[in-house]
């Protein structure tokens, strides 16, 4: 089997970008690093989702740790969102990059020893974050709840300054992956690498901005603008580029087929780079941030939703002629389910960013509904698909039980859809009751049945992940011959 060649543009004078899809790049990849990043990613996923499930019990009146200060509702709620972002997604993305970058560049990452250092340092930081949050040292910036280590708004040290260490860790990650990309043996960079290299730079800039300015320099309204920028950039300029970069890598590799259109991938990348960061302020619409800035954010949001459609179209066109893979290949099914979810969230965002819809749905359960669709439905699905595909290759054993993987998919997918529809409906109802000046207790009582359903759906998702992690564990310790061709859609192609 030869390399999967991906023709890029029409430059006749330069060799096209390539993915090394055969075993010739195996010696460049440190499988141990991929394996351990995935292991920690899955563990933190369990931690986060358990926390999310427990937190949802508060809303159904069955919170189990009512009298334990450090496990109180508010604090556990931080662990839920923060561990997903930094424990699960970052670990999984870094693991995926350890696998992808050498195959895209023909080079090793900067240093495997540095890789082990990053692995250990990062897990320490996630743990320090979770412990700090449970002890009450969280920073009051949404998604930036990682403790600053200082009393709010002052320079009095009271905990490990995790924020600054995370910035240091992000710089190490940048050194690790930008080195091989800069020294790539292919003259042209494949799409994935644009996303990876820009995403790493954006992560550092975003993190520094969001975790220092609102805390130490900008108060109130201008702080709000920066916090909005931070929340959005973390999703739009780190999670999204990493996710799409990995999709641009894994989908062609599994389908054995180059991506459909280079032109569309160029449009998708530059539109994301230009419009996405301008969206930030849309998290605080109808606030005291100047209206000119708010309108700018609304218009760029609508622009980005239109243009990201090109990316989705590109991937569905790539599927052309390989549609059966959705039935036969579980990773591909995860990826494309994620893309459908991506399209749904973008479409949803196009409408709900308008002031007319904001008026109704902001501050309601609509927002967590949307957030779960993005983080779980899109990025977690992609990561889970990636793990489903890579795990047997990393441990060298075939899946312990492939049926469990299907249970994992269906439980997670149905659970997510139920939760999404449920929270959206709750949000619309909440919004209209609120506008009608219904008493607060009436609104809460009307919401309670929806919260019951949400807990049930969350339980389904959590159960799916437990099955998956159990399967991963058993796969790693049960010797079983694995033939990688069973996971390829068309092993004979190319």
């Amino acid at each position: 089997m030869t390399s999967t060649t991906l023709p890029i543009g029409d430059a006749a004078d330069e060799p096209p970008a390539q993915i090394i899809a055969d075993a010739s790049a195996d010696h460049l990849v440190c499988k141990g690093l991929v394996k351990w990043h995935f292991t920690f990613a899955s563990l933190f996923m369990l931690v986060s989702m358990t926390a999310g499930f427990v937190v949802s019990l508060q809303f159904v009146g069955a919170y189990p740790f009512e009298n334990v200060h450090w496990l109180s509702f508010g604090r556990l709620r931080l662990v839920h969102t923060n561990a997903i972002a930094f424990g699960f997604l970052v670990n999984a993305f870094v693991g995926g990059m350890y696998y992808a970058v050498p195959r895209l560049t023909g080079r090793r990452v900067a240093s495997h020893r540095l890789g082990w250092v990053i692995l250990v340092v990062w897990q320490f930081l996630i743990l320090a974050t979770a412990v700090g949050q449970l002890l009450g040292y969280a920073q009051a910036v949404e998604w930036g709840e990682t403790p600053t280590g200082f009393r709010p708004g002052t320079w009095d040290l009271n905990y490990i300054p995790v924020d600054f260490l995370v910035e240091f860790g992000a710089v190490l990650v940048a050194i690790q992956f930008l080195t091989p990309i800069a020294k790539s043996m292919f003259k042209r960079m494949y799409v994935s690498l644009w996303y990876f290299s820009a995403g790493i730079v954006w992560l550092i800039l975003t993190y520094v901005m969001g975790n220092t300015l609102p805390e130490w320099t900008l108060s109130g309204s201008s702080g709000g603008a920066t916090v909005g920028l931070y929340i959005h950039d973390l999703v739009g300029l780190f999670v999204t580029p990493m996710g799409w970069g990995l999709m641009y890598f894994f989908v062609p590799i599994i389908l054995r087929k180059p991506i459909w259109s280079h032109a569309l991938s160029v449009i998708g990348f530059w539109a994301l780079a230009f419009f996405y960061p301008l969206n930030g302020v849309h998290h605080f619409l109808l606030s005291s941030i100047p209206m000119s800035v708010q309108y700018g954010a609304i218009i760029s949001t609508m622009a980005v939703e239109i243009v990201v459609t090109t990316v989705v179209v590109n991937f569905f066109a790539t599927m052309w002629g390989r549609g059966l893979a959705l039935r036969t290949n579980l990773p591909i099914r995860w990826f494309y389910t994620g893309m459908v979810c991506y399209f749904i969230t973008c479409l949803q965002c196009f409408f709900h960013v308008t002031l007319a819809v904001q008026k109704i749905i902001h501050f309601t359960d609509w927002v967590p509904g949307h957030a779960h669709m993005v983080m779980m439905g899109v990025f977690a699905f992609w990561v889970l698909g990636m793990m489903t595909w890579l795990w047997p290759r990393l441990v060298g054993n075939d899946w312990y039980n492939r049926r469990l993987n299907h249970w994992h998919y269906w439980l997670t997918m149905i659970g997510l859809v139920v939760m999404f529809v449920d929270l959206l409906a709750a949000g619309v109802m909440h919004g209209y009751m609120f506008m009608a000046l219904a008493p607060w207790s009436d609104i809460l009582n009307a919401l309670k049945p929806f919260w019951d359903v949400r807990t049930f759906a969350g339980g389904m998702i959590l159960l799916g992940q437990i099955l998956f992690v159990y399967n991963m564990w058993q796969t790693a310790r049960t010797p079983k011959p694995y033939d990688y061709r069973v996971d390829l859609v068309d092993p004979e192609a190319n």
Binding site: A138, W202, S219, G220, G223, G224, S287, L444
Partner: protein, 290 residues
């Protein structure tokens, strides 16, 4: 376009920098950049009545929490002093010092208990919000050190708190933290048992002869201010109360007794001080530029 340096420079640095200029620097320059931020000490110059009431209602916890509490005198204590007593002047600055500590601790507790995930601090000019919560605020209203990091929030499981100050009594807040559904039916807010300390309190049982007026149980009793660390302190307080009771109320002496009790601790007092401050601050008026 697909060179490494192009991606890093134009996408990585350029697009990010442009967005930061447009939605970070620009709004700052036309709002908060025009007026200096008000510090917490400056905010604490105007001590609220509710904060002074906290000392009267919860003297023990108050004394433990604020180092200058001894010199900060309540209205009752001031009433006994001569007009030119130096303690009168010292009292006001002691109050301001204590209030600054309370506001900062209260805001820190608000963050540490993650109140901002379920309560917002901004009212929008739509959806009848100002009918429900009060006036919409301008950027200047949030340009103070208590809003850094800003605490607007993005989700309302509970009501907006922008104008919470002076809306309810201190005691309502204490009861609410103890068990939210007691004061707010249907509430899903967690209880905050760690806002309460154990101790001993002097209580006064109801006059059995008057108990049936209004259908009050005969066994009912009411607390007096102060939850003391030890039983002996509470008994000393009971003795003091008995001595100071006016002779007309001498019958009440028999009905005083000491019992184990819970009372709000320093954290609870500071977060209540912070809640009672919300929305009461009037930002300084900016002089028009010539």
């Amino acid at each position: 376009m697909d060179r490494f340096t192009n991606v890093i420079l134009f996408a990585g640095l350029g697009c990010f920098g442009f967005s930061f200029l447009m939605s970070g620097v620009y709004p700052y320059l036309i709002t908060d950049g025009l007026v200096p931020e008000t510090s917490i000490v400056e905010l604490a110059k105007d001590v609220s009545v509710e904060f002074k009431e906290l000392k009267a209602s919860y003297p023990v916890a108050f004394g433990q929490s604020y180092p200058t509490a001894g010199a900060a005198l309540t209205l009752e204590e001031l009433a006994g002093l001569a007009e030119d007593d130096p303690r009168r002047a010292a009292s006001e600055s002691a109050w301001q010092d204590a209030y600054a500590v309370a506001l900062r601790d209260g805001r820190d507790a608000y963050i540490a208990e993650v109140c901002f995930h379920c309560h917002t601090q901004y009212v929008r000019p739509v959806a009848n919000e100002s009918l429900r919560f009060g006036p919409v605020l301008a950027p200047a209203n949030d340009n103070n050190a208590l809003q850094r990091p800003m605490l607007w929030g993005t989700r309302r499981v509970g009501p907006d708190l922008t104008h919470e100050g002076r809306l309810r009594s201190n005691d309502w807040h204490v009861a609410h933290f103890f068990n939210p559904p007691d004061t707010s039916p249907g509430s899903v807010m967690p209880r905050f048992p760690w806002f309460f300390r154990d101790g001993w309190q002097v209580r006064r049982s109801i006059d059995p002869g008057k108990a049936d007026r209004g259908g009050i149980d005969e066994g009912r009793s009411y607390p007096t201010p102060g939850v003391f660390e030890t039983k002996a302190e509470a008994e000393a307080e009971m003795a003091r109360l008995k001595e100071t009771l006016p002779s007309a109320l001498s019958g009440e002496k028999e009905r005083l007794f000491v019992e184990a009790a819970k009372g709000p601790n320093g954290t609870a007092l500071s977060i209540i001080a912070y809640l009672q401050w919300m929305g009461t601050w009037v930002p300084p008026v900016r002089e028009p530029t010539p």
